[in-house]
Amino acid sequence: MPLRHERTPLRIAAAASLGTAFLALPLLAVFVRAPWASLGSTLGDATMRQTIMLSLGTSLSSALVSLAIGMPLAAVLAHSAAPWTRLLRMLTTMPIVLPPVVAGVALLLAFGRNGLVGQWLWRWFGWQIPFTAVAVVMAQTFVAMPFLVLTLEAALRHADADLSDAAASAGATRWQALRLVTLPSIGPSVVAAVALAWARAFGEFGATITFAGNFPGRTQTLPIAVYLALESNPTAAIAVSLVMMGVSAAVLVALRGHWLGST
């Protein structure tokens, strides 16, 4: 029997409105203080356009790279019952709890010119990853991919329970069931996971400025531009913040079926 729909108790409603206000007020403040008159000229500036394009390009690349290398990882996590899977899951979750600046330092120590791996790239091929757009994508992927992996793993488990029994009874192995039945059924979750990873990559700051540095048009992304503009030109910082909020809101609206409830 479905639960009867009833009114939210007053006390809970009051507490909930406190939470709502806490989340909404800072966003509202940006709108109130936004330099609407000069918005066009600030955002139309050539350097700013470059920064916006770079941010969009790198964050999209990061989301796709996350999908390419994160999807198999999610499949292993969802399907393998081996004891090391727990260790693997912990490793995958690490970048979520790690302060992004620490992630940036770790990336430098691994892929920098004197890094664990980076020194060989430098010696053999003369490649240096830091201070390039590739470094931006790597930093963003490092912090964003875990969100994609965890989302996909949950989706795979969920779909698995319903479908793989049926597939198994039709004679398929576990991995066949995954490839032929489960994966096609989680399409919407894949979109949601990619969007989540993209949003995290789009907002990435600490790991990026530490690993990729800051150079307009090459490694300066929107969050870095906001941070630096805040020191010299707060008005421009607010304008850029407004753009980032707009883009984030657009993503939420596009994916409202997943995160905003389907009604």
Binding site: L108, L109, G112, R113, N114, Q128, P130, F131, I209, G213, N214, F215, P216, T219, Y227, L228, L230, E231, S232, P234
Partner: protein, 295 residues
């Protein structure tokens, strides 16, 4: 009491009676021999300390603290430019010795970021900026009345140990093959670095504009860039982790550090005492030791 125990007591008494301080009591004067390094005695109005001079341990007079530890008490927060990190940390320890009931906490960051935070009401008592421009910003906002300049800092080229790109001076930084890190133009070290390039008549395109001078130093220390331009004081603080290439004085540029008490300070006396300490001889000595030019 066992016999052995009595023996032990007797031996301890003997030892006590024959302590070197008593034995040499009459001999204590500057330069006379002493036994244990670091020992202190008071003779008349002079304090003596046993110190190693050359190969021998000798008594030397130490100046007794002229004033009793001050009664000043309270905690202050000092917002200081990132380049002051080492000098001010050492200064605060000395300040604490003189004023044991005070506590100094620091927030070190790029001067514009600190000025911005102060203008937005950050609870700070003292602001030490790496440029007059950022101090003026705070004064214009009404957060401070006046500022006193207390030090200057010059720039220096630093490279990773071994100088892999064989940089010899500022002119080499213009070479596109040399990867350079400098401060972004909004912070004082970026402005001063630009002045150095202008003086040398070179166009330098760095691979990265770092948010503050310590980030430049980090990129050099890690060997991710071939060279960076930092303050002389930063190069000194980094010791052997970087190689320093001094810039000729006539081609160098400098920045002036002003310090001010903030009007919002809840501990104006402690704040002023700290500023006075920075401006004192002891403060000057600590700053000079850190590589600053003292005013």
């Amino acid at each position: 009491m066992s016999t052995r125990r009595r023996w032990a007591l007797g031996a301890a008494l003997l030892l006590l009676l024959s302590t070197p301080v008593d034995a040499h009591a009459a001999a204590i004067k500057p330069g006379s021999a002493c036994a244990s390094q670091g020992a202190r005695v008071l003779r008349g109005h002079t304090h003596y300390r046993c110190e190693r001079r050359g190969k021998r341990l000798q008594w030397w007079s130490v100046t007794a603290p002229r004033v009793a530890p001050s009664r000043l008490s309270g905690s202050i927060t000092v917002f200081a430019a990132a380049s002051l990190t080492e000098a001010f940390t050492a200064l605060a320890a000395a300040f604490h010795t003189v004023n044991p009931r005070t506590h100094v906490a620091f927030s070190f960051a790029g001067s514009p970021a600190l000025a911005q935070q102060i203008d937005n009401g950050a609870p700070a008592d003292v602001f030490a900026s790496a440029s007059n421009a950022n101090m003026q910003q705070v004064i214009d906002a009404g957060a401070a009345r006046t500022a006193v300049p207390f030090a200057r800092n010059r720039m220096i080229v630093v490279t990773p140990p071994g100088n892999p790109a064989h940089v010899r001076g500022v002119a080499d930084l213009a070479d596109p093959a040399v990867k350079v890190a400098i401060c972004q133009a909004q912070v004082p070290c970026g402005v001063t670095a630009a002045a150095v390039f202008a003086a040398a008549g070179v166009q330098v395109t760095p691979v990265t504009y770092e948010p503050d001078v310590k980030s430049v130093l980090t990129k050099v220390e890690l060997g991710e860039v071939d060279a960076g331009i930092v303050y002389v004081s930063d190069a000194r603080a980094a010791r052997s982790r970087v190689e320093a290439l001094p810039i000729p004085k006539d081609r160098n540029a400098l920045t002036t550090y002003p310090i001010a008490r903030l009007r919002a300070s809840a501990q104006p006396q402690v704040a002023q005492a700290f500023i006075d300490f920075v401006l004192s001889d002891k403060g000057a000595a600590a700053l000079a030791a850190a590589g600053f030019t003292v005013l």
